[in-house]
Subunit: 379 residues, 2 copies
């Protein structure tokens, strides 16, 4: 039986609403996953996340493998006990972080050899290791080890990376099977192929043959122009098996999520709501506000009037401005609560719109309020 059930489809777009069953409960899609790199979503407690409506969080395998190490997390039976979060956790494979953070990383057919960005210690991670590590973290959704490439990349480079990623995906799949009951996590395949339609199609089809319970698009938001990101997501998503959950990794801004839900994406993660919160940026229906702006000094309004989040229910822009200006710790938490609530609530309303089959109308209103226009592709 599939872990993913599609409950509703938008008749005029490719958007869909579904439910993804994991060992730690069911996730309603479309869903946004806050990023909890080091087994903590920065400035947030698990209760804060629940209060914000977060259903599932992402944790970074590369970081946790280095600090505190799998042996520590295993003492608690996995990430849930370690960090006191009892809803699902998705872990990335570590590939992207090795590519972007590690010193002297070297890629071979066998895996990644790299030096820790913290202490320079040497490590080798094979596809099998990536699965084992995620199983030790007791991940509910684990990702295959993939090879990320920079933008721009030649078609040859992209093709090599795609081939290696597919061959690793196969090894990950086999390792997952070998683990048997040692892990009840769902292993997702990751489509690579740069910005090349031909390669994305090849990659998606090769992975589909391996019959993963879910698929992700990797290699987006790596420096390409926004239009190209949209285009690549738009042509790649239909190549992924229609009945399986589709996860667009590392994306993005609220409008990116709205667009990609329209292309048929179900899952997202991004550091934007949490990182921007710590820099004083708050997401609102009308766009982003910077709480550091001195016009908020005397502003007694809630950060976003009408918002039902904890922060907007109890605090004013003037108070958040004061906390931010004085670098008070509570500033990070209150801003993050608002931003994560904004993202999860946007997903909730998107889901509702899909179920009511008025996604296009929802999208129109979304852009009208922001005084923005949809990207040129007219979707």
């Amino acid at each position: 039986m599939s872990a993913f059930l599609i409950e509703a489809r938008s008749s005029e777009t490719k958007a869909r609403a579904g439910r993804l069953k994991t060992g730690k409960g069911t996730v309603k899609t479309p869903v946004f996953m806050p990023v909890g790199t080091l087994a903590t979503v920065k400035a947030m407690s698990p209760e804060d996340l629940v209060e914000c409506g977060a259903q599932i969080i992402l944790a970074n395998t590369y970081h946790l493998y280095l600090r505190p190490g799998c042996d520590i997390v295993e003492l608690f039976g996995g990430l849930h006990g370690f960090m006191n979060w009892h809803r699902p956790v998705l872990t990335d494979s570590g590939g992207f972080q090795i590519y972007s953070l590690a010193k002297m990383s070297e890629i071979t057919e066998n895996g990644y050899a790299f030096q820790s960005h913290i202490d320079g210690s040497r490590h080798l991670i094979t596809p099998e290791d990536a699965v084992n590590i995620q199983a030790r973290l007791n991940s509910d959704i684990m990702m295959c080890l993939d090879q990320c490439i920079s933008y721009p990349a030649t078609e040859n480079e992209a093709e090599d990376a795609h081939r290696l990623t597919v061959s690793w995906a196969k090894r990950c799949r086999e390792q997952k099977t070998r683990l048997g009951e040692l892990s009840d996590g769902l292993l997702f395949g990751i489509v690579q192929g740069g910005m090349y339609r031909r390669l994305r199609e090849l990659s998606a089809k090769a992975l589909a043959e391996l019959d993963f319970p879910g698929y992700a698009i990797g290699g987006l938001s790596v420096g390409e122009p926004r239009e190209l990101m949209y285009e690549t997501a738009r042509f790649t998503l239909p190549f992924l098996p229609e009945q399986k959950p589709r996860y667009v990794m590392g994306v993005g801004r609220p409008e990116d999520l709205v667009e990609m839900v329209g292309y048929g994406a179900d899952m997202f993660d991004c550091v934007m709501p949490t990182r921007n919160a710590r820099n004083g940026q708050l997401f609102t229906a009308a766009g982003t506000i910077n709480i550091n702006n001195s016009r908020f000094r005397t502003d007694t309004e809630a950060p976003e009037p009408g918002c039902t989040c904890y922060t907007c229910r109890g605090y004013s822009r003037a108070y958040l401005h004061h906390l931010y200006r004085n670098r008070e710790l509570l500033s990070c938490r209150l801003n993050t609560i608002h931003n994560i609530h904004y993202y999860t609530d946007l997903m909730r309303r998107l889901r509702e719109a899909i179920k009511n089959d008025d996604f296009p109308e929802f999208k129109k209103k979304f852009y009208d309020k922001r005084d923005l226009h949809p990207p040129k592709d007219k979707n």
Copy 2:
């Protein structure tokens, strides 16, 4: 009718348990007041404070006067609305901070002239101003402007400071009367006089004549040897009117609180539980632990086994160690929750011991567990 009611007295010591009525509710004493300098107890939300058992917090007048300024706080009807804390707030007068933080502060019969430690702007604060500012902050317990002196100070210096403090106390009292219904705060007098018994007695008696609803001992914990601090508190407390609440300012360590409750003190504030938390130090019945210590890396126990605080209910030493090592924001909050809970719970248990008239037994157990000994004065 007095705002303070003594409910129980220890038969063998001077300890007492009481209730102090304020405009924002009743405070049970002995009480510890967490410090919320800039209208936020660092890393804590108001709900966190309530969960920890905090009944009243302290805010710093000097800091709030400079940032965000009284005009902003007034837009919210005072500190409670501004910071979303609806229990009582005590504000200090600003005297100690002007003395310790301001640049080029100059003291005259009329008040303090000083330059802001932030932007160098020039200010003059008279005793009347100090009361007005605290009234604008809607303080529930306000403090008279006092002159702090360093340790050591000659008897002449201490006597001058005591005289000025008393004359200012009179002006504060008059200003408070002038404000009438503009403030329902309780104005406390502050006893000065350095470490000189004669001056402390003079100061206490002069203030008692002004009939304040409460009295504080200022000028302790300013660098004097610990024995001298104990001695000064011990001889000064009995000079204060017996029926009024007695507040020992800026003190201190858990054992200091236990001692001073035995001398007849009712109220305390100190940055120790909050500041030390941010530095990884956790208070426990057995003494302080430093969560940064690598022996906690694999320790799956609660920070203090048996403790009922939010942190100890959900998290391990290994997780707190991991958060602290990685400078995660949640580290500050979880550590602070534990420490404030430790302090408020210590006060709650002290109060219970007084009501059961077994304070000496409580004190003995307190020291036994910590493997410490009471100070030499044998009280």
